[in-house]
Symmetry: C2
Amino acid sequence: MKAIVNVSLKQGVLDSQGKAVHHALDSLHFNGVEDVRVGKQIVLQLQESDKEKAMSEVTKMCEELLANTVIEDYEIELV
Amino acid sequence: MKAIVNVSLKQGVLDSQGKAVHHALDSLHFNGVEDVRVGKQIVLQLQESDKEKAMSEVTKMCEELLANTVIEDYEIELV
């Protein structure tokens, strides 16, 4: 089973990488962009085939390692 | 309109960040992980409301700035 984890900065946390990308897009004359946020996408290939167990395992991984829950949110999708 | 761009390393390109995460998960006794790949997720808030125009604009952004197409693939999703 594959797990896709999207980690993004919480609303209100300054996203300097997003700001830099926005600025670079402006420099390249892409003017129709209102906001840019940059996050991480982590794709895990798991041995577990049970959806519930996989979700609980990946949630633990996010809490302990993959996301900094003080400033980041995470979403898990199982495929 | 919102565009979600997922940028990931092409198959065969060494993903050192993924390897590091995999190793860290092993150290934390998460043993059921076969492979880890780490990519970027870029969320763009666009003024454009026409899907086709937005897709063509974001594709240009990916080719020119957001992805390094020599070693990275990108996927665009419009929401």
